[in-house]
Point group: C2
Chain length 97, copies 2
């Protein structure tokens, strides 16, 4: 699955956001979301296939953390298509503090 397709699902975006500042396992996420662990696992597999997360297995648990490299591709594409990014980027920079 490519990056855009991976980000198209709202649940996946929430998961990624959560993972970003708190690396989690499938079962941990399953407690936070109103879906089954297997459903979570599928989403994580999708994110992994898209290169958006990193799997770190220790013992019997597998913890997922953010891999932000692919997000650069998204930024790049959006920037290419959008155009006039000098102002836009400065605005964004300001918005992010």
């Amino acid at each position: 699955m490519d990056v855009f397709a991976a980000l198209s699902d709202p649940t996946r975006r929430e998961m990624l956001r959560h993972i970003a500042d708190d690396p989690s396992t499938a079962t941990e996420l399953a407690r936070l979301f109103p879906i089954t662990r297997q459903a979570v696992s599928k989403h994580l597999a999708a994110l992994d296939e898209a290169g958006l997360v990193e799997r770190t297995s220790s013992g019997r648990e597998v913890r997922y953390s953010l891999r932000s490299e692919r997000l650069d591709d998204v930024m790049g594409w959006v920037a290419e298509v959008g155009g006039e990014w000098d102002q836009r980027l400065s605005r964004l920079k300001k918005r992010l503090g």
Copy 2:
């Protein structure tokens, strides 16, 4: 349809890219892509619903052009999740020339 879902389809991304520097009609796009005009029309409807294009009808033809506002939302989300954007943005700026 939300923005991310609209961008999840490769055909739609190509169309948007083409529209970005050459506003087109459905039939014009149908000549460039290996799909039917109706399929193109559906894609354009999706892009329109997501707020990514602007419809300008003159006479019997409807021309679609890029609306880049929503792309800011995408950038914003990606930036929020990705983190560490001081370096990333400067790299992107350099990459865009």
